[in-house]
Symmetry: C2
Subunit: 289 residues, 2 copies
Amino acid sequence: MKTHFDCFPCFLKQTSRTGIILGMDDKAVWKLMKMAGTILSKMDVLNPPPRNAVAIYDMIAENSGRQDPFQEVKKQSTLHALALFEELEKKIKEHPDPLAAAVRYAACGNVIDYGVGSTFDILDEIESALEVEFHHWEMERFRSRLHQAEHVLYIGDNCGETVFDRLLIEIIGKPVTFVVRDGPIINDVTLEDAQMAGLDKVATVISSGCRAPGIVLQETSRQFRNLYETSPLIISKGQGNFETLCDEKREIFFLFKIKCKVVAEYVNAPLGSMFFGSMTGPNSNAIPN
Amino acid sequence: MKTHFDCFPCFLKQTSRTGIILGMDDKAVWKLMKMAGTILSKMDVLNPPPRNAVAIYDMIAENSGRQDPFQEVKKQSTLHALALFEELEKKIKEHPDPLAAAVRYAACGNVIDYGVGSTFDILDEIESALEVEFHHWEMERFRSRLHQAEHVLYIGDNCGETVFDRLLIEIIGKPVTFVVRDGPIINDVTLEDAQMAGLDKVATVISSGCRAPGIVLQETSRQFRNLYETSPLIISKGQGNFETLCDEKREIFFLFKIKCKVVAEYVNAPLGSMFFGSMTGPNSNAIPN
């Protein structure tokens, strides 16, 4: 999807919030805001928002002198989620439909995101995860695809959420390749972060080759693109990956919480609701499968 | 008050909304958005937001080729409010406390504003105007000041709202000077708009000398500043006038609906609540009177 008018104010909100999270003083945050203004004035708005976000976050990293501004936030998110691991693993195993339960938990893990919203209560989300309404819920289609698949490509999103992904990957019970960002951006998962979450114990972890907080295909590595083209089943976590892949013609199972109005309008679902499904399936207005 | 980090995204939201209201196509609105980015990159953030808004709205006017982009919107707002005039005049006269009722109606007229919020339902607001909770409500102090005053300076805000101001001015029953913007900006009242609302029948209408959607004192005319310094009682309508005058040391009765979080935090009142009072009185944290 292309950048929307409303993405411009959002980029500025993300800029000030990041500056504040980093403990920068007002003068330094204003410098970021003004530089963000210059970036907006030159932005290629045909790009999807996550691709355009790279310039914003690079500018913040450069000015804050911190290559990985969310390093500590990411670590805390992962540790926090890891503390819930055994309890959730038990809940999933005891559930009458462990696969559906694991999908729901993996979706609720997506509330951990410092990029768009700033407040979340992961424990509340977990309590309601098994009851929450999904606007799209292509579970049976997914189950059928999974049954036939010999391999799954799983595109990761944020740190902390990764621990919930690990639980779903355990239940999937097939060889999985887990894809991370090529470098630090917001609180998105990198190789190092994935290892901390224990994803290397259940999947082959590879970089997408792309630094954006999404999958900009033309910027990904040959290894990733090869897997992307040949994998019988792809799971894409989070809104950033959705924004960059939603117009692709191949079937992808998107699993995410709808965090902004632009995406809510795009999929015609309420803001804050959960999405699990493809953009090419019978429930979509896009290309029929 | 100074420009806040959150004013930057708001300037961009106002830009796209104005472009859309003007019926501009996507390409033209994107041009406005990018030019707004450049304006933000050079903005003097020590200025109050309404002073900084001038560059944004000048840029929109220049690019849209419309010197008064909200001309039709302003006219419709005024006509819509005029249609309610007699009914409201009757309600006020029949009320046990006509002055308090007129103040409440004048506040509710302040919901007519295309600058910050975009949706309003004036009839709903009128229904609840007499019951609505004011976070600040310095009515007795105002009554006492009015009793002593030989003249009132009344600083206007938006078109449509002006009709409600006229009702309050009728009840005030003292010589009133009504102040308008020096030129078209958003839906703010100009000399021509004030005449359409019939304000010239109840007050002396003058320009502030300043084009901002607020009162930037150093840009006002000598005539305005003289009145500002000598008037025993000043009523200031709307958030824009508040933002530019709230740090002044003289007593001013601000009457407005709190339309954004930045101002809500500034006055420590809930977003959407009503404000009637001074920043120098006993209920304020500012300089005691």
